[in-house]
Symmetry: C2
Subunit: 679 residues, 2 copies
């Protein structure tokens, strides 16, 4: 909204000011008559402004906003996986594809698969995970098939509880083998009935989408009748339309014109299914009951053993199709039937320039998409690498901190009882973790070496690159890489860092490494370090920390029986903030003594849950991990004096130096004792 | 709490690090055993930490905290004035004496003077004004005399509603002439009854103080009986004691020991009445029924026509007395019977070093002392020079913004119907204002010249220094003086500035001009300018502001029918904030479009109320003021790019340059028209 102005005008009062101003004003004269000085309506730029500034806007509003600014969008459709492993992989796919900036995703509904159940593989669970754990605006399909009104309402209520705001209302496919559609008693005949039902039961809570068939539904009496039926669905209360796939741009263009001719004015989004392999083409035919155009068959058939060539052809062909739609200005965006695959869709989006180039972060941490969290703009720094765990442990909160964390009583974090929830599980297998973290551990130094390898991105002693640790399922962020050298050295010496950030003093909010938020702002950070370390180091720290009054520290053991801090019991400390044009100060990260206590249970727990359990009970390796869990301390340090070079490394060096001093003293004492004895 | 550390330690890993560290550690070794690493208990430093961080602490807690840290405090007692003019002067006195940092003040209660009434001169009104408009923790006296239980309860309820938390419970003096005390029916005999009653009706809401007589009450049966009676008052629920005045330190010291001996353990504060003149000495004698010691009489009597000499003697004598009490460690602070005068008390406090040397501002604006406002730490910048008006217009709010202002609906500001409320009235008389602002005004330039004189601190054309304007009853702050040169020039040209601040980029929070808040922090400001100006200038501004996208602006006329802005309707803009050790970001000042609308009514109203009404109706002077009110606009500008030099002056220069351009254009057009005519 606020950009850098033109090159600076000359100083006021200088003789040249007037002619140069004339020049500027002449250039801008055409603007003058156009300027609208009524309050800037930010709604047209919704897609750019984070929701903690604008408040939650429905998908319908977002689509409208993109249409008004002619900013093409894309959406992605997935189906629920069959296994828990498939669910883990699908969520990783959601995370990767989110980087491209989809406007929404949707999840299909298949009554035979217990879609409303609690399993990891149900439609409801997957949709909830996409929304809450992957930060995607999510739409859930809902069909009339095989369900009563009551059951449907129950599912919708559960979707609402989870936070889902969008429903694609379909009649759905009859059960396999039933050629003629027979609605259940107390069910719905038609999608339009379902739409009406949703509006009646839930008012405007849900945004409703309906499906359309640019070539007419296979069971429709005629193309024209099918369009009338579509209008009925829209009049029943649908907000927008997604179409079945089609092969030729003209098919869709004609369809849209025919829709408008009968008074269908809501957005119509073309459905696209990239041809990803020979099999997927057959799949298309089966799903859509459409005939593949001959020219496509001619190209694809000879290549049926060369899926990569087919995929490249599909990418090319899809790009051409979409370009034609965009050039004709007939499509506001595109909806991809991904079939849960990612390569072709991503390639198409990048070629078309729809994939977000260098996505800016609205906040330093990944925001959730649940509307209940739309105002959330501040979190404790401890969960920086574990945002999903944070969402999980706070999902029951009525409201989320906005602006300030505040000096509340102990915020009630849910316990993390199951570290194996599919959205919290590592993407790596047990075997892979063992190769990275050690098939067997002989001593604590072995553990320290794993941390060292992770931080430096170098190989461990078996030559395997360590790409994750129990507290971070991904490699070090680019920001943490700024601290790599220092971190590496201290990790090797038993300061096992699990979270850190450098100090930043007024960097541009557009900085590629540390920037976040709206452009034109300035961001700040206090240097922060969090690590596990042994008792001896903690004793040393408690002795030397008074030398560093600008540091705030907090030290806890697993049980919390040891609790050392110079923080106020209830007062959080800001560690990241930014000043932006046209807004209040945003302060997205804090260090809070109370939340640190909730965090340490999770942090200590991960030793055993993620690492210890890789080994047999009573093995030496397991004992080492258990020894660390029960004897090490979790320490966090904040350097409040962010304009100066961070003194956190001085703190650690002083800690080691103090220990050395103590050792020298006891050696001296032993010598003295011996002397006494010999006297 | 967090200070600058010792000189920097050498870089980590350097060979010299270890010996130097040894040196530091040796120096600090004695500290190591003393360090308490349990959570820093800030309560001991309550008097230093602002209440928006600590929350409200009762006067009782504050006294306890000062005792624990051996930080001597002082308090000031006043009596209600007789006239409205006296009330205005008394409030100005409160403002000046507040600078010295009194722990509290108290206001006496005289049943004959309608002390619980609504007039400007009632005890209740004065106590409420001290609390709400002068930011003083306030105690109200309450006597049993001549009032029934019901009446007393009613007065206490009203005191509670106003926000008063402290009561000095007295029996009080019988009505004049009645030598023997006769309690009313349904009243109280004794102060101890009153104390019990307050606890019964109000629980712990009020802190209760009681009076003591170091030489025994005149009507007491004996000194010892009087101390027993004091104990009864304390046991009935009093929190602390203030004594009657006395002349010799030993009197008080003995008294305190005798109190402790019978088990009175609450704080006992000595009451001090400086001898300010010969008459005041007689007053002392009358009030206290004490005999003035001979040595004092010997000194004072010969000087009875030389009040200044007597006051100087009184200052000296009081300092000696208080020093003796402090040296004996028998007094936690001192309570001054000021008799509503200021010179002697202020001199004594400064000599003793009790007067706050360079008082730091907890926030850039003067905080209110009402406990309901203890969390308030953010306000719109518009009332920077009119904090009393702000308190008045927001007194009905249930809660006050803390942390962020927020994107609320229109905050409901009370109307300012009476500009002559005694706490809003100018300290200058009508005559004084006329000499400053012009006995008569001929044209708008006369008005502009007044602004110019005010901003530069130079004389107006009649040779009179302009020390105030309707929007600011005091001279320019030191911070605004930084902008003086630019302000002066533009004011003279019809940009009538009423509020401004320079940009600040990470100055120390201890900076003497722009610093505020806890030490060790960094403060920031966006450059801000607010002014009245004519329609032609506003037209020019609307044309050139698009050249300055980093500026947020808002322009209103008196009625609000003209409303130009590039701000979001509901989104406030931070203009002052700071980052401090150990806390979240404090953001004490914002610019808010909605509050600006509430402010403009007051800002436009002040033209007429404070200035226009100085002149006769239908006089030219009055017309000029009315013309300005009805035709000028109020403009505020924020330069969001605070790390760069402010471009606000460029904006104004460009505005004038644009006008000049337009004039040249119309001259050219006229010439062309003329040419056409002559063809």
């Amino acid at each position: 909204m606020v950009k850098e102005g033109p090159a600076a005008l000359p100083s006021p009062g200088t003789p040249t000011a007037l002619p140069i101003l004339k020049e500027f004003l002449n250039q801008r004269e055409h603007l003058n008559s156009e300027s609208d000085h009524s309050h800037a309506d930010d709604d047209a730029h919704l897609y750019n402004m984070p929701e903690y500034l604008t408040g939650y806007h429905s998908l319908s509003e977002k689509i409208q906003s993109r249409i008004e600014s002619n900013d093409k969008f894309f959406s992605l459709e997935f189906f629920p996986p069959r296994t828990k492993g498939g669910a883990v992989n699908l969520l990783a796919r959601f995370d990767r594809m989110r980087e491209g900036g989809p406007l929404f995703c949707d999840v299909t509904w298949h009554p035979a698969g217990n879609p409303g159940g609690d399993t990891e593989t149900s439609s409801l669970t997957i949709a909830g995970a996409a929304l809450n754990y992957c930060g995607l605006e999510t739409m859930l399909h809902m069909t009339c098939c095989s369900m009563t009104k009551t059951e449907i309402t129950k599912h919708l209520k559960r979707a609402k509880d989870i936070g889902i705001r969008n429903i694609l209302a379909l009649r759905g496919d009859p059960p396999h083998g039933a050629e003629d559609w027979v609605p259940p008693e107390d069910g719905f005949n038609y999608a339009s009935d379902l739409v009406r039902h949703i509006r009646k039961e839930f008012g405007d809570y849900f945004v409703i989408c309906v499906a359309a068939y640019p070539m007419g539904h296979p069971e429709a009496t005629s193309y024209e009748d099918d369009i009338k039926y579509l209008k009925e669905k829209v009049d029943a209360g649908a907000n927008f339309i997604i179409t079945q796939l089609f092969f030729k741009a003209q098919t869709f263009i004609k369809f849209v014109r025919d829709c408008k001719a009968v008074g269908i004015n809501c957005p119509i989004i073309p459905g696209i299914m990239p041809i990803q392999s020979y099999d997927s083409l057959r799949h298309i035919v089966k799903l859509s009951k459409l005939d593949v155009p001959q020219d496509i068959m001619d190209f694809v058939a000879p290549l049926k053993d060369n899926d990569e060539a087919i995929r490249n052809y599909g990418i090319h062909q899809t790009c051409m199709l979409i370009k034609e739609l965009f050039d004709a200005e007939m499509a506001p965006g595109v909806h991809f039937y991904t079939l849960n695959r990612e390569v072709a869709t991503t390639a198409i989006l990048k070629q078309l320039g729809l994939w977000a180039a260098a996505p800016r972060r609205p906040l330093p941490w990944k925001m959730a998409a649940n509307h209940k969290r739309s105002g959330e703009d501040v979190r404790p720094i401890f969960w920086a690498s574990r945002p999903k765990a944070y969402v999980y442990r706070t999902q029951h909160w009525d409201e989320f901190p906005n602006g300030r964390w505040g000096s509340s009583e102990s915020p009630a974090f849910g316990e993390l009882k199951d570290y194996y929830l599919f959205y919290l599980t590592s993407k790596s297998s047990k075997e892979q973790l063992l190769t990275m973290w050690g098939e067997s551990l002989e001593c604590e130094q072995d553990v320290w070496d794993v941390f060292h390898a992770y931080v430096t991105g170098t190989a461990n002693k078996t030559g395997k690159k360590v790409t994750k640790v129990p507290w971070n399922d991904d490699e070090l962020s680019s920001e943490t890489s700024l601290l790599k050298e220092n971190l590496a050295d201290f990790n090797k010496r038993g300061v096992l860092t699990i979270n850190s950030q450098p100090n930043v003093n007024g960097a541009s909010s557009e900085d590629p490494v540390v920037g976040w938020g709206m452009p034109g702002g300035y961001v700040y950070q206090k240097a922060y370090l969090e690590f596990f370390t042994c008792r001896e180091n903690v004793d040393a720290l408690l002795n030397i920390l008074p030398l560093f009054p600008r540091i705030n520290y907090h030290i806890l053991n697993k049980s919390g029986s040891a609790d050392f801090s110079n923080c106020h019991k209830h007062r959080p400390v800001a560690v990241t903030w930014g000043a932006f044009p046209g807004t209040e100060i945003i302060q997205p990260t804090i260090v809070d003594p109370l939340s640190f206590k909730a965090w340490k249970d999770e942090a200590f727990g991960l030793w055993e849950e993620q690492w210890g359990k890789l080994y047999l009970e009573e093995s030496r390796s397991r004992e080492i991990i258990q020894h660390i869990t029960n004897n090490y301390y979790l320490v966090n340090l904040v350097d409040n004096d962010y304009p100066k070079d961070s003194c956190l490394w001085d703190v650690l060096e002083s800690m080691f130096a103090w220990r050395k001093l103590q050792e020298e003293k006891s050696e001296d004492q032993e010598e003295n004792n011996m002397c006494v004895c010999t006297q």
